[in-house]
Subunit: 176 residues, 2 copies
């Protein structure tokens, strides 16, 4: 087993700063580009991450700790963030995500006793029984997925600019 | 055309800090994991980026500016970084990359007159004629490729930890 809650938190606590470092001050070209119809730009990804902080991870953890498998996870709308203001500066979107994440990590550390809680289970609406440790591991990998997404979307902005090097650049080959 | 040298530099100047934020202080589990035999861990990716600063981008730019297409690009050994000390702390590897990148961006700004130089051409050993603007765009996208690689490698460490969520997490589906 590679999972430990301390190592998961290492990723979770770095992500807001990683997005901030990568994105703050970039020109609109980098920030507004996407991968075509119904795909997300960098700003929309940050809104999605903030929404998930608000309505996904902590509510699911609470459900596991309070109700176990008796009650399925509350709904999470994976498109709710598309209702956020697209013209809000990216710096404000990043700050919102950072604040929510910091609060949630405090909650996580308060709520969870790693020795006894990590094997507790809940009911995922599609998967059925899942473990708390899997949910927390997913939270961390979900951050990594969206870092990968943002750099892939940014690379798309330069697909036609790199000329023949396109074939050498792995990020231009990954599927969405 | 999406390319401008100013926007390419925006990415190039952020990358060292992005890697630093993402990687500094992570546990060995995250830093030493790779994707199997003959694949790179995060530390090796940083060594590769530093090597490319030393022997790839600037020497190629110099060749274009000094010799045009008359002289092919100098050799770049894509595996030279594997000779770097694997036990050197990641913080030192990151600092080396950061210093080399900062020096190279000074050089880039000194050498290049965007109005006249970007369409100058050189000879790539495999592709033949390439433009300076394509080389600089590639430099930026090469950073993005390796950010994507590092988060993909890190995600691999948790592939078995996320349980049924594996199918939802795009970063676990991308090919190397």
């Amino acid at each position: 087993m590679n999972f430990s809650i301390e190592e998961a938190i290492e990723v979770l606590e770095r992500s807001p700063l990683t997005f901030e470092t990568l994105l703050t001050g970039l020109s609109p070209g980098w920030l507004h580009t996407n991968e075509g119809r119904d795909t997300w730009n960098a700003a929309q990804v940050i809104d999605h991450l903030a929404e998930a902080e608000r309505t996904n991870w902590i509510p699911r953890i609470r459900t596991i700790l309070e109700s176990g498998t008796d009650q399925p996870f509350p709904d999470f709308d994976r498109f709710a963030h598309l209702k956020q203001d697209p013209d809000q500066p990216i710096s404000e979107k990043l700050a919102r995500f950072k604040t929510l994440r910091a609060q949630n990590l405090v909650t996580l550390k308060e709520w969870i006793q790693p020795d006894t809680d990590l094997d507790q289970t809940g009911t995922h609406p599609a998967f059925g029984e899942v473990k708390l440790r899997e949910l927390i591991a997913t939270w961390a990998v979900h951050d990594l997925t969206h870092i990968a997404q943002i750099v892939r979307v940014m690379a798309e902005y330069y697909r036609r600019e790199v000329g023949p090097w396109e074939q050498y650049l792995g990020v231009l080959k990954n599927s969405r």
